[in-house]
């Protein structure tokens, strides 16, 4: 007789080990089929845009929008970037691009800096009135922006910032505050409280703990906040058109002016190229940030 707990091989019949999976089961066909169809459906407009932007006007006039370009030309792209006209100005989108960059960088940096300190203070330093302050801030996240447009115009006028890039930066910073503060507060609350206590016993103060303990541990949430702000501010149209003047218009506003100009022939290829150029920054962010971007969207979903 063999000992039942020894390592001798035992005779076995019937199923053993992992259950085999068929590659072409009805289930898989269904899943991949649906995904493929949906992906094509969503990619089709992008294909049309890219194809059209690479065609010359004569080819476009044939009306076959799904046909691939026969004569590939980059002329429309060059035109969209440096020659397209909005009103009297014929510098193309490049001016709008640099305006957008000038708006984007300070807005993102300032709003994230302030919001992260806000969130840190709310999460870790339970000061008097913290709850009230937080409630007011969150309440702000649920008020439609449109309501505040006119008061903001007056506010900027009084500050002497109306029509200037600085004014728009201020507007973006203020409107980004509720959601970003919520984001940072929730993140800092999720960090172990004992870490904060240990740092206090070690004699670190408000800024010491923020810069030396909290900040190095919060890189992911800073990236999420950055994605959220960059895509949000880059894609903004409303504030851009209201709070700036034509020579300071961001790229989105300028794109609109190019595409919607009613004079002369509608250059579809230039319009497509201009639109793609404007969308490049958020697209690069989407592809470069991967998983963190999904967290950014999930956090942004709170905004409604």
């Amino acid at each position: 007789m063999t000992n039942s707990s020894s390592n001798t091989t035992v005779e076995m019949t019937g199923p053993r080990g992992a259950k085999p999976k068929r590659a072409l089961s009805p289930r898989n066909i269904m899943i991949y089929g649906v995904l493929l169809v949906v992906a094509c459906y969503y990619l089709l407009p992008l294909y049309v845009m890219i194809a059209t932007s690479l065609k010359g006007m004569p080819e476009i006039r044939l009306g076959n929008i799904f046909a691939p370009p026969v004569d590939i030309t980059f002329e429309p792209w060059v035109k969209a970037w440096s020659q397209a006209c909005t009103g009297l100005n014929c510098e193309g989108l490049s001016r709008g691009f640099w305006n957008s960059v000038r708006i984007l960088i300070p807005s993102v940096a300032i709003s994230i800096l302030i919001a992260s300190v806000n969130g840190y203070a709310l999460a870790n330093w339970k000061f008097k009135g913290a709850e009230v302050f937080f409630t007011i801030l969150i309440f702000g996240a649920f008020i439609p922006y449109q309501i505040m447009i006119y008061p903001m115009v007056i506010f900027l006028r009084e500050l002497g910032l109306f029509g200037k890039l600085g004014g728009l930066v201020l507007v973006h910073t203020v409107f980004g505050m509720p959601i970003l503060t919520l984001l940072f507060r929730n993140y800092f609350t999720s960090l172990p409280e004992e870490l904060f206590k240990a740092a206090r016993v070690d004699g670190a103060g408000f800024w010491g703990i923020y810069f030396r303990i909290m900040l190095p541990m919060s890189i992911p949430i800073f990236v999420v906040a950055m994605i959220l702000q960059v895509t949000g501010i880059w894609n903004d149209f409303l504030f851009g058109v209201i709070y700036t003047k034509p020579d300071a218009y961001p790229m989105t506003v300028q794109l609109n002016n190019i595409v919607n100009s009613v004079q002369g022939v509608k250059e579809y290829n230039v319009n497509m190229a201009a639109t793609l150029l404007t969308g490049v920054v958020p697209l690069v962010i989407y592809f470069a940030s991967g998983k963190l971007f999904v967290r950014g969207i999930a956090a942004g979903a709170v905004k409604g």
Binding site: V201, D202, G203, G208, I213
Partner: protein, 358 residues
């Protein structure tokens, strides 16, 4: 001379009173354990001593200096947390020196203090690693080291071993005891583990609902608990309680069984009232030897739980459950009838009305 003294301490969270008029004096070099079930206020008390929670009323003195309003870092304390709370982005060395850098200690002084702490705790090979690359036991050593380098008089431990597995916990327990014998610092140690409390403490403070129930040496708490809560809390398996009365002087009566209390040491002499008769399972003697005890009776084994080193037998006296701890080699099986006996002098009797020891 007292090291830490707490005077009429109150702490409220809103309308909830967590600590109520608490007084506590801790001597220099004493190892005090705060023991209690979760939510009894023991960690809260420790956080108050550390200065991490603002007290509602009362005073805290450390080394005869009133530190009630001082920052945690100015109180002369070092603290070790349950979750280690090591700074994840810093190396072990960075963790150890963080507090010293904040206190602007000169560089060579930092080096020598870190080296000394690392030597005491035997973590020298780990100095350049990040906490993520350490095991649980190593992390807790580093956390202790972080308190050690601060060169303070009072060490505060907040359930430092609760996150470790049983074997490591036993090892580190001995190490903390060794550390205390070497350094002679005052140590205040919070735990819910009675084994840690019994083995480490010079004195144990058992807490319940923000009040200290008993503050005494481990032996005194084990042998002469002041009330039923303490008696029930300390000891594993916990104490048996028989419901009865002492209407006849010097005798405990439950159902048809009468136990002569003989030389039981009463606090204020016997009372004629309903009482709980408490007796520890490990003080019961079974078999032939039971006949020589002042009290003995025949019982039936209902459940037998063998645990290797010893065996727990569940039986009953007058239809009330009664546990007996016997030798692991004893041959009692479920359904067996056996003789048990004990000396009532080792019992603990509590007044049924206020649950205090009589």
């Amino acid at each position: 001379m007292t090291s830490v003294s707490i005077k009429n301490l109150d702490l409220n969270f809103g309308s909830v009173k967590v600590l109520k008029q608490l007084n506590l004096e801790i001597d220099h070099g004493e190892f005090l354990v705060l023991l209690g079930a979760s939510g009894c206020g023991k960690s809260t008390l420790l956080n108050c001593i550390a200065g991490l929670l603002e007290v509602s009323d009362g005073q805290i003195h450390i080394n005869d200096k009133n530190v009630t309003w001082e920052e945690p870092s100015d109180r002369g304390i070092g603290m070790v947390f349950q979750s280690y709370a090591l700074y994840p982005q810093m190396t072990v060395k960075g963790n150890l020196s963080f507090g010293l850098k904040n206190a602007r200690v000169p560089k060579d002084e930092i080096e020598s203090r870190v080296a000394r702490a690392a030597e005491i705790l035997q973590i020298e090979p780990l100095l350049h690693r990040k906490p993520a690359a350490l095991s649980g036991g190593q992390r807790q050593r580093v956390a202790i080291g972080r308190a050690l380098v601060r060169d303070v008089d009072v060490f505060l431990f907040d359930e430092p071993l609760s996150n470790l597995d049983a074997k490591l916990r036993a090892d580190l327990r001995v190490e903390i005891k060794r550390l205390h014998q070497k350094l002679h610092n005052t140590m205040i140690y919070v735990t819910h583990d009675q084994v840690e409390a019994m083995t480490l403490a010079d004195r144990i403070a058992i807490m319940k609902e923000g009040l200290i129930q008993q503050l005494d040496s481990p032996a005194e708490i084990y042998n002469r608990p002041v009330n039923k809560y303490v008696a029930d809390f300390i000891g594993s398996p916990s104490m048996n309680f028989l419901d009865g009365d002492m209407s006849t002087k010097g005798k405990f009566k439950t159902g048809g069984t009468e136990i002569d209390l003989g030389n039981y040491e009463f606090v204020d002499g016997p009372i004629g009232a309903p009482v709980w008769f408490g007796f520890r399972p490990e003080h019961v003697i079974v078999g032939e030897a039971a006949t020589s005890q002042p009290f003995s009776t025949k019982v039936v084994a209902e459940i037998v739980e063998p645990m290797g080193s010893d065996t727990l037998v569940w039986t009953s006296i007058e239809n009330q459950p009664f546990r007996v701890r016997v030798d692991g080699q004893a041959s009692i099986k479920t359904g067996d009838e056996f003789l048990l006996g004990f000396d009532p002098a080792r019992a603990s009797i509590f007044d049924k009305e206020n649950e205090l020891r009589v």
